[in-house]
């Protein structure tokens, strides 16, 4: 096991370095003038040139890559040309909101998937559910979000339509930046409830594709497992259907959906751009969309690098988990 983990770590570092190189190359080929962007439109030529020198933009490529890497190691992701603040600072500011949303969406998505897949595998549901899952995974996320907003906010008024908190709720100072958690930590239950209330719609929208994809994977995976002989043995022993599913099916059906979690993270990273825009959620997604609009290269590349890095770590963790669940993988 330790060898496996060590090998995994080494390849992780290798991929990270390759990633930084790709992002650096992209930075060079995309036409934009970071110097001009920092000094503003009205600035005379001389200020732009001075800024260019300051940013080291006139130096040869390998030197610039070196500077880039050394700045990365210090946690410097560059300065956003739109907000004029370090991208790392912006990222830290907007990350908690997205983290809260993604965590909630995963939790709700996995719960929904299990809630649908388990009864389905136990034979309790008709194929209408399966079709429903397929329909849910075919709906474009902007349609889903807009429909939820219209229905549950605009017409029924059950949930707020945007933002993380209502206008009369002060933002918690909290350590985590996750308002639901911070509200509890501060002892303001009403803040947490308000945060939950605002979290509901974007979470539901973001959770739907997760639930649909995981649901499909789980149902087909569980169907496969159910056909196995050891299940017949379990049934022959007299275990009820639900017990069979809980004890045997889930554990053995887990690896495939587990891998899907990684893929869903990637997908969620894309979906969140739309969901955050729709629900005025002040997270990394809406930050990135604004960065697109302003061609704010440092922000786009910085955020993408951070997310890719996180995803790589996540993938490595999932690999290790899978190896734990199925020792056969390690042997390969």
């Amino acid at each position: 096991m330790p060898m496996f983990i060590a090998k995994r770590l080494i390849s992780l570092v290798g991929i990270m370095i390759a990633l930084t190189f790709i992002i650096f190359v992209l930075q060079q080929i995309i036409p934009a003038d970071p110097a001009r962007a920092t000094v503003g439109m009205n600035a005379p030529r001389t200020s732009v040139e001075a800024k260019r020198k300051e940013l080291g933009l006139d130096q040869p490529l390998p030197l610039r890559y070196g500077r880039y890497l050394s700045r990365l190691l210090k946690g410097d992701l560059g300065v956003s040309t739109r907000t004029h603040r370090p991208v790392a600072v912006d990222l830290l500011h907007f990350l908690p909101a997205s983290a809260e949303l993604m965590l909630a969406a995963f939790a709700v998505g996995i719960t929904l998937a299990l809630a649908v897949a388990v009864p389905h595998a136990a034979g309790q549901t008709g194929s209408a559910i399966a079709t429903g899952i397929i329909a849910a995974s075919s709906a474009p996320i902007f349609l889903v979000g807009q429909v939820f907003a219209l229905l549950l906010w605009f017409w029924l008024g059950w949930f707020p339509g945007g933002g993380r908190l209502g206008p009369d709720t002060p933002a918690p100072e909290g350590p985590t930046g996750l308002f639901v958690l911070d509200g509890l930590l501060e002892g303001h239950l009403s803040t947490s409830i308000d945060a939950l209330h605002h979290l509901a719609l974007p979470t539901l929208t973001l959770a739907l594709p997760v639930a649909a994809a995981l649901g499909r994977a789980l149902t087909s995976s569980m169907t496969d497992v159910l056909r196995q002989t050891y299940i017949r043995t379990a049934r022959a022993k007299g275990l009820g259907e639900f017990a069979v599913v809980r004890h045997h099916v889930l554990r053995n059906a887990a690896p495939v959906p587990l891998a899907m979690v990684g893929l869903q993270f990637q997908q969620m990273f894309m979906n969140i751009l739309i969901v955050e825009g729709l629900f005025s959620w002040p997270g990394v997604g809406s930050y990135l969309v604004k960065a697109f609009a302003a061609a704010d290269l440092p922000a786009i590349l910085g955020v993408s690098l951070a997310f890719a890095g996180f995803y790589l770590v996540l993938a490595a963790v999932i690999d290790v988990l899978q190896a734990v669940l199925d020792p056969r993988i390690e042997a390969r």
Binding site: P31, A32, D33, R36, A37, G40, M41, N42, A43, T81, R82, T83, H84, R85, H93, F94, A97, A149, L150, W153, F154, G157, P160, G161, G162, G163, R164, P167, D168, A171, G277, L278, F279, S280, P282, G283, S286, Y287, V289, K290, A293, A294, A295, D296
Partner: protein, 512 residues
């Protein structure tokens, strides 16, 4: 009987009082908060660095300058300066400051504070320092008097002071206590120390800004307790919020076509704006040929597509200046012979042109750009439309061979004086002269016009410049676009000013 002995009458009265209190609290809450939304974050709250169009209303509510424009007009009136005078040679400006003004940090305003601030504004690394170009020196001879001496006469100087982006006095609570190593630039990004009717009590990037009433304000007490500014990037969402009552007004961006279908309970305020829709022509590429430019101009005639683009909320431009800035008698005359235009195009090799606009302006510019493309198709030109990120737009001049052929934008000059328009777009060194149009004679005329004091003479000269530029087909004035604010019934005294784009006066706005 055990317990508290309460007479029924007392209980009843207590009950009614409690209900009344609740009711009062409820209506108190909803009545004295104004809910507003921005589509964009403010990148900074520093009045000397905030060169964007967003947030000018919040800045105006917290900071104040020496002079300002009167509501609904381009006439100047006092603000922190209760009066002022200009010397005969046009070089010295004396401002007499109001007494009893306090900064939000508690400090009383004196002329030396104003001097300290103006010195700060002049720092070259601040984006808006160019407003004080031409200032030779400044002084504070006594506590109530502030004096500026210019190097050369500048009739537009007062307008610059009144500009939405003009100098706004920042107090020592920022400039002294939080100077740091960058004259308080870092601190002023998300804090403020002004003299205005509101204090900025929350600046939560990406989420919301909260302005709370300044109880020590030296002027008239504003109506609203709090101005709550939410960041809502999608206009569709803002519109839904307005309908639902989560928002009280939308200052800008309400789609024109939707203005004709306003749901009940909403009103619109159509006001004059200094927004002028203009097309910039890249004369160094496919439109080098004068005849072809003329053909393009014929097709571009706004009379043909203006209503489709702006649904009645724009009028054909009368000159290269917004009408609220400089009135010209009649709309610009475009060549009108479409048949001749088609002929010209047919003679030239297959023409395809690129019409560009700024990506961030898509909501307003996509329509007209597509309509223009459509109009060009009518005379046989294949036109494509392409949005560009704002940062790439200044790069056009660096590579005219590959820059777009036409660029359309709605432009807002710095202030109501025509030199702020000409100096920003038409001069050779103008920062927003997107396609590097060069004409020595025009430059001379612009320089000369900038020195003229007599309004009639001045206007005549600027109009002459406009006619020449149009004849050369370098800049095409398309339309004066009206500003429209959509708001919930019951609000009044919004007090807009043409020179202040999208700004609602939070000092005066109230519910009826």
């Amino acid at each position: 009987m055990d317990g508290i002995d309460v007479k029924p009458g007392t209980a009843l009265r207590a009950g009614i009082a409690a209900l009344g209190l609740l009711g009062g609290m409820q209506s108190g809450w909803t009545e004295t908060v104004l809910h507003v939304a921005y589509q964009e974050d403010m990148s900074t709250f520093d009045p000397d660095n905030a060169f964007a169009l967003y947030g000018l209303d919040a800045l105006r509510a917290t900071y104040q300058g020496l002079i300002q424009y009167k509501p609904g007009s381009t006439e100047l009136t006092g603000w922190l300066a209760e009066s002022w005078s200009v010397s005969n040679d046009g070089l010295t400006y004396r401002f007499r400051l109001h007494r009893g003004v306090r900064f939000h940090d508690g400090h009383a305003l004196t002329a030396s504070d104003v001097l300290a601030y103006f010195r700060r504004r002049k720092s070259p690394d601040l984006a808006l320092s160019y407003f004080l170009n031409g200032v030779a020196d400044m002084s504070a001879p006594d506590a109530d008097t502030f004096v500026i001496r210019l190097a050369a006469p500048d009739p537009s100087f007062l307008d610059r002071l009144a500009s939405a982006w003009g100098p706004k006095i920042v107090g020592p609570g920022a400039l002294v206590d939080h100077a740091g190593s960058d004259h308080a630039e870092t601190w002023l990004n998300d804090h403020e120390d002004g003299t205005g009717p509101y204090r900025m009590t929350e600046f939560n990037r990406g989420q919301r800004y909260v302005l709370s009433r300044n109880e020590d304000y030296w002027g008239k007490r504003p109506y609203f307790d709090r101005i709550q500014i939410e960041i809502v990037p999608t206009m569709a969402q803002q519109m839904l919020m307005l309908r639902k009552g989560d928002l009280d007004l939308i200052q800008t961006g309400y789609p024109f076509e939707q203005l004709h279908h306003l749901p009940g309970g909403l009103r619109m305020l159509v006001h004059d704006d200094l927004g002028l829709e203009m097309a910039f022509v890249n004369g160094s590429r496919r439109l080098r040929d004068r005849l072809l430019r003329k053909a393009v101009l014929t097709a571009m005639n706004p009379a043909g597509w203006l209503d489709d683009a702006f649904f009645g909320f724009a009028t054909p431009a009368h000159s290269l200046y917004p009408r609220a800035m400089l009135g010209a008698p009649a709309p610009v005359e475009f060549p009108s012979d479409l048949a001749a235009a088609r002929q010209i195009v047919a003679h030239v090799a297959p023409v395809s042109l690129e019409i560009a606009y700024e990506d961030q302006e898509s909501a307003v510019q996509q329509h007209p750009a597509e309509l223009l493309a459509s109009a060009l198709e009518q005379i046989g030109i294949h036109a494509t439309v392409r949005p560009y990120p704002s940062d790439q737009v200044p790069l056009f001049a660096d590579d005219l061979e590959h820059a777009p052929d036409l660029f359309i934008a709605e432009n807002y000059p710095d202030a109501a004086h025509p030199s702020t328009q000409a100096g920003v777009f038409f001069a050779r060194t103008a920062p927003l002269n997107y396609f590097a149009y060069k004409n020595a004679q025009i430059d001379q005329l612009i320089d000369a016009a900038a020195l003229v004091n007599d309004p009639a003479d001045r206007d005549r000269r600027y109009l002459d410049i406009s006619k020449r530029l149009f004849a050369d087909m370098a800049f095409v004035p398309l339309a004066d676009i009206r500003g429209v604010i959509v708001y919930r019934e019951g609000l009044t005294d919004l007090d807009t000013r043409p020179a202040l784009p999208w700004v609602v006066d939070y000092e005066s706005i109230r519910r009826e």
